[in-house]
Amino acid sequence: MSGTQKYPGLPLLPPPFAAQQPPLAKVVEEKCIACDRCLPVCFFDALRIEERPGHALGRSAVVTAAHCTGCGLCFETCPVDAFVWVPDMSSSPSRPGTRI
């Protein structure tokens, strides 16, 4: 199970709030090690690395919320479990991923 521990990956189930609000990926910047593993899998250009002067490593992955479709693949690639789900407050019925 060492692989599983190293790559915690996507939780098996959607977060509890998913029935009310579509989930969106967010990076917990304190955990992020800026390893760049998540960037290539994002087909929606929703991930970028930004300079973070206060961060231990000086940089962190950041989710562009407007591009994120909440697909979950970035969770899979994170070796330090730095992704969490947050409610997507900006979604509207015309936007992919919204409940109709």
Partner: protein
């Protein structure tokens, strides 16, 4: 060297981006082209009746059994997903095709899904008018409504589309015991090629909550392991039907592409490998195919298509030898020792 003639289109590579999340926006077309893809099959557009399929559950992907290799090195994974259709309206989709055609230097294949033959035909006509070079009929998506029967709905759809458009029509079939029969039916209905095969439907369960994972319903499931039954289906179809085959499902290396061609595929569609190992997968595949051709002295891939099928051994001719003799040492009963 990799140039492949497929349905009247001269492709610079037999490697095609399959319909899905790697072909749902315009920028991905230039990525596919830049990395050497022969063509792109666009994300499937659903008829207005199925507009709920333009919305996607979150999350919708889970990598199972992943070997956790990054930087394009992953060899093992199962992509478990509830992939849905193109997220815009049909008008958006026609415009999507037009923009792709304006900017792409490689053929663009439209992909549609509907139920009634009239809807299939009307959508296909729009795809053609928008400028697509060919059209793929997604009659086998693992996420389609279960009530649609192949023998009625799908055959009628193929006939209606073939009778309506002048561009080549590919029928994408599901794997399983019926695939050969369906490939024959597709040929009889006038399809110009078959795409073999779509993904299987599967389910995984979270034993803690005792619920199905992710969206809670059956998912599409595929991965490198799918290549073995995919190749079998291609080989069977290659022996039986007379229209070209676009193989898809499980190919992650150039060697896989060569194998698919050896069992009869003309082109090979790739998606999961791009998703997991990056767009560079296409360039790597092209390099590996070229390397194989140089090593084996192959000028054109057409010259090796179906070679492995031609040298398959019929079951009656398989050389067999005696197994364990009934009076051999392993067949003499001994009481277990203390």
């Amino acid at each position: 060297m990799l140039t492949t003639l497929f349905l009247g289109m001269e492709l610079r590579s037999p490697v095609i981006v399959a319909s899905g999340p790697a072909s749902h926006d315009v920028n991905q077309i230039s990525l596919a082209e830049r990395h050497g893809a022969g063509a792109v099959v666009l994300k499937t557009a659903c008829s207005d009746k199925y507009q709920h399929m333009r919305f996607w559950p979150r999350p919708r992907y889970k990598l199972l059994d992943w070997d956790k290799q990054i930087a394009g090195r992953s060899k093992q994974f199962s992509l478990y997903s509830y992939e849905q259709g193109y997220s815009g309206s049909l008008e958006d989709y026609w415009e999507f095709i037009r923009v792709c055609k304006r900017h792409a230097g490689i053929p663009i294949v439209g992909s549609i899904f509907a139920d009634e033959a009239g809807d299939w035909a009307a959508m296909a006509a729009e795809v053609e008018m928008a400028g697509a070079d060919a059209i793929e009929l997604d009659i086998s998506s693992p996420h389609r409504p279960g009530s649609l029967e192949f023998d009625t709905t799908s055959v009628a759809a193929m006939r209606a589309v073939v009778g309506r458009v002048h561009i080549p029509v590919l029928a994408k079939l599901a794997p399983g015991t019926n695939v050969l029969k369906q490939a024959e039916a597709a040929e009889q209905a006038g399809a110009h090629a078959v795409t073999l095969c779509n993904r299987l439907q599967g389910i995984d369960v979270d034993i803690e909550s005792q619920r199905p994972i992710l969206h809670g319903y059956y998912a599409g499931i595929g991965g490198p392991w799918a290549k073995y039954y995919t190749m079998r289906h291609i080989a069977e179809a290659y022996r039986t039907v007379h229209i070209p085959i676009s193989g898809t499902g499980g190919a992650i290396t150039g060697e896989d592409v060569v194998k698919y061609i050896l069992v009869g595929a003309s082109t090979v569609q790739v998606l999961s490998a791009i998703l997991i190992n990056g767009w560079e997968t296409i360039a790597r595949m092209n390099e590996e195919i070229t390397g194989y051709m140089q090593r084996k002295g192959v000028d054109r891939l057409e010259s090796i298509r179906g070679q492995a099928v031609a040298s398959m051994t019929p079951p009656d001719n398989i050389v067999r030898w005696s197994g364990e003799p009934l009076d051999g040492t392993r067949n003499i009963w001994k009481e277990p020792g203390p």
